[in-house]
């Protein structure tokens, strides 16, 4: 469970998040909104890369904002980036094993291999990431995000730029993350088909404010959302 209260982020004169309130319970939750709405800023606050001007973020009873950025992975936050950031010099195994984990020895090894197996895509753990396709590199990033007993998985446009068949594979993977790890998963994406397919609940950000939240199908039909996000023409 993650609860965000009155979260405000300012970059100089620009207010990126403007008193954002949010509550996600469990499963895969979608966070959508037009470009510049503050979705990635919100993720950066959760990762600790951006210090908010005010507000609080409580996840599973812990105050996240108190933790230093690199300690948040130890707490259990995982994330992927809008531009894929798999480390090309390393093997797939090392890319996943990079994540901080409390597991040691063979348990850790099994966890890493299980994560790679979980994302599928026919990726060998011993292949260099530099030799993989864009879609496979995305999957490696997702594998890293599910390794080491995560509690909160943040996926920032994981399907961006992927062809249809790979997106549909990824859809299955994302859907299975909460069952596989027990983690609350937040998905940011512009692909409404993907959001509709994997998210039970969805929240909509616009100009740093939450304008709607609830069951995905209902939110996507909301008139305000359509106006803010999909354009007015679609309402008419």
């Amino acid at each position: 469970m993650i609860e965000v209260k009155d979260l405000t982020v300012k970059y100089g004169g620009v207010t990126s998040l403007d008193g954002m309130n949010l509550l996600f319970e469990r499963g895969v939750c979608g966070l959508i909104g037009p470009n510049g709405a503050g979705k990635t800023t919100f993720f950066n606050v959760l990762s600790g890369f951006v210090r908010p001007a005010s507000g609080s973020v409580t996840a599973f009873g812990d105050d996240l904002l108190k933790l230093t950025h690199f300690r948040r992975a130890r707490w259990g936050i995982r994330r992927t980036f809008q531009t894929e950031q798999a480390i090309s010099d390393l093997t797939v195994y090392d890319n996943v094993a990079m994540i901080h984990s409390k597991l040691r020895g063979s348990a850790r090894r099994d966890d890493v291999l299980a994560s790679i197996e979980f994302v599928g895509g026919g990726i060998s753990p011993w292949a260099k990431v530099g030799s993989l396709t864009a879609g496979q590199r995305r999957l490696v990033e997702v594998a890293r995000a599910v390794a080491g007993k995560p509690r909160l998985v943040l996926l920032d446009e994981p399907a961006a730029g992927l062809p249809e068949e790979e997106t549909s594979h990824l859809t299955g993977v994302i859907k299975a993350i909460p069952g596989h790890t027990g983690a609350l998963t937040i998905l940011v994406d512009h692909d409404m088909v993907l959001v509709n397919a994997v998210c039970e609940t969805t929240a909509v950000l616009d100009f740093g404010k939450l304008i709607a939240s609830g069951p995905t199908a209902q939110v996507l039909r909301d008139e305000h959302v359509m106006r803010a996000y999909l354009g007015t023409a679609e309402v008419a």
Binding site: F49, R72, A73, Y93, S124
Partner: protein
């Protein structure tokens, strides 16, 4: 729903990375080369080249440290020669002041250098790229200045261990089992091997992963729970340690150290050498060691080429690296050899079937052609649109201006 790539793939995955044939060949080649260097080479070499090869071993350790920083972590340091100087100073001082075994002194020199080096670079850890290079160059300059006043120990007393009025200067001692040059050469090679193994183990385990992550993307490293400052400091400390050990070795090799041995421009040359040799591989460090110590000696010995010419040579080398071969000689040479082998083997074999009748390759070509076509269409359309826009823009204001001029 989830493709697990079949049970077979997973079964091999569980077994772990199998040592493939290439890795095995590589290991055999390395072992044979090292045995040659240790056993076959010393009796064959003249005194001049023995002395040169000791330097190669020592500078390989130095370039190993710098290569680690530059190639693996992305920290551009120009202060490694200063670190070497500190190691040499500490080593020389301890060798004069105590009767501890040489190997122990080497380790101590490494540790002291590590502490000093880490403390000095601690404030610089938030910097990267050009700024880190500048700060470390200043550090190198500072150490040079200190050395000019402090001088290297020459058997005197006090903290500095320097006695300017001494008539008979005692030599810095060597290990009892490696007093002669050939023996000291073997000893240096073994020390170098140990240092390379130390770094190799680091690269293969958690620090290596952390460094690779930091080098490519610090946010990604932080998001994975890597304390980037700590691991950068670790890299600096490890590089300083091996360089400090090399410093003590250098003290034993030279037997008498002078402050003019470490001019500041050599710090820059060292970075060039590391880039040309190959910053991304351990073999590159060895090649860099040869470039640094062997090439000048050989060129001078064979044709009397003065060392200054090397600056031009290395300059060209760096240009080549930046332009076409980012992996340096260590990466480029095997590729070129493979290409050469293919060229030669083609002379014997009948002409291969025209093109690779591989569907995949053909598809790629077709795709690329299509892409180029779309791109050119887009560019053309853009050009037309822009020309139209410019025409309009040109007509608008210029007409107005003309209108103003002729009322």
């Amino acid at each position: 729903m989830i493709d697990t790539a079949g049970p077979k793939a997973t079964a091999t995955a569980r077994r772990g990375p199998v040592m493939d044939r290439r890795a095995l060949t590589r290991t055999i080649v390395i072992v044979v080369l090292l045995l040659l260097a240790l056993l076959a080479l010393p009796p064959l070499m003249s005194a001049y080249y023995t002395s040169t090869m000791i330097q190669v071993a020592i500078y390989s350790i130095v370039t190993l440290g710098l290569g680690l920083l530059v190639g693996r972590v992305g920290l551009y340091s120009l202060g490694q020669l200063a670190v070497l100087t500190i190691g040499a100073w500490v080593g020389a001082r301890l060798l004069f002041a105590t009767s501890q075994p040489f190997i122990l002194v080497m380790i101590e020199a490494g540790l002291v250098t590590m502490i000093i080096g880490s403390l000095i670079t601690l404030p610089a850890l938030r910097l990267r790229g050009l700024y880190l290079a500048l700060i470390t160059l200043m550090l190198a300059g500072g150490v040079t200045v200190v050395m000019q006043t402090l001088n290297f120990p020459n058997g005197g007393g006090g903290f500095s261990g320097y006695n300017g009025s001494q008539l008979h200067i005692p030599q810095i001692r060597r290990p009892s089992f490696a007093g002669t040059d050939p023996a000291f050469y073997r000893f240096s090679v073994i020390v170098a091997i140990v240092m390379f193994l130390l770094v190799f183990v680091h690269l293969r385990t958690r620090p290596g992963r952390a460094w690779a992550a930091i080098k490519q993307s610090e946010p990604s490293a932080l998001a994975a729970g890597i304390n980037t400052t700590f691991y950068k400091l670790w890299a600096m400390a490890l590089a300083a340690f091996v360089t400090g050990v090399a410093g003590a070795l250098l003290a034993g090799y030279q037997r008498e150290l002078l402050s003019i041995q470490f001019p500041i421009q050599n710090s820059i040359l060292l970075l060039a050498v590391v880039l040309v040799g190959g910053a991304f591989s351990l073999a590159g460090a060895v090649i860099a060691g040869f470039l640094q110590a062997f090439l000048p000696a050989a060129l001078y010995n064979l044709w009397g080429v003065p060392n200054d010419w090397l600056i031009i040579l290395f300059g060209l080398g760096v240009m080549q690296v930046l332009a076409t071969a980012p992996g340096g000689i260590a990466d480029q040479f095997p590729k070129d050899m493979k290409r050469l082998y293919r060229q030669i083997s083609r002379l014997w074999r009948p002409a291969p079937p025209p093109a690779t009748a591989d569907g995949a390759a053909r598809r790629i070509i077709i795709q690329e052609t299509a892409e180029i076509h779309t791109r050119s269409v887009v560019i053309e359309e853009y050009g037309q649109a822009r020309a139209a826009a410019e025409e309009q823009a040109d007509l608008g204001p210029s007409r107005g201006a003309e209108g103003e001029r002729e009322p």
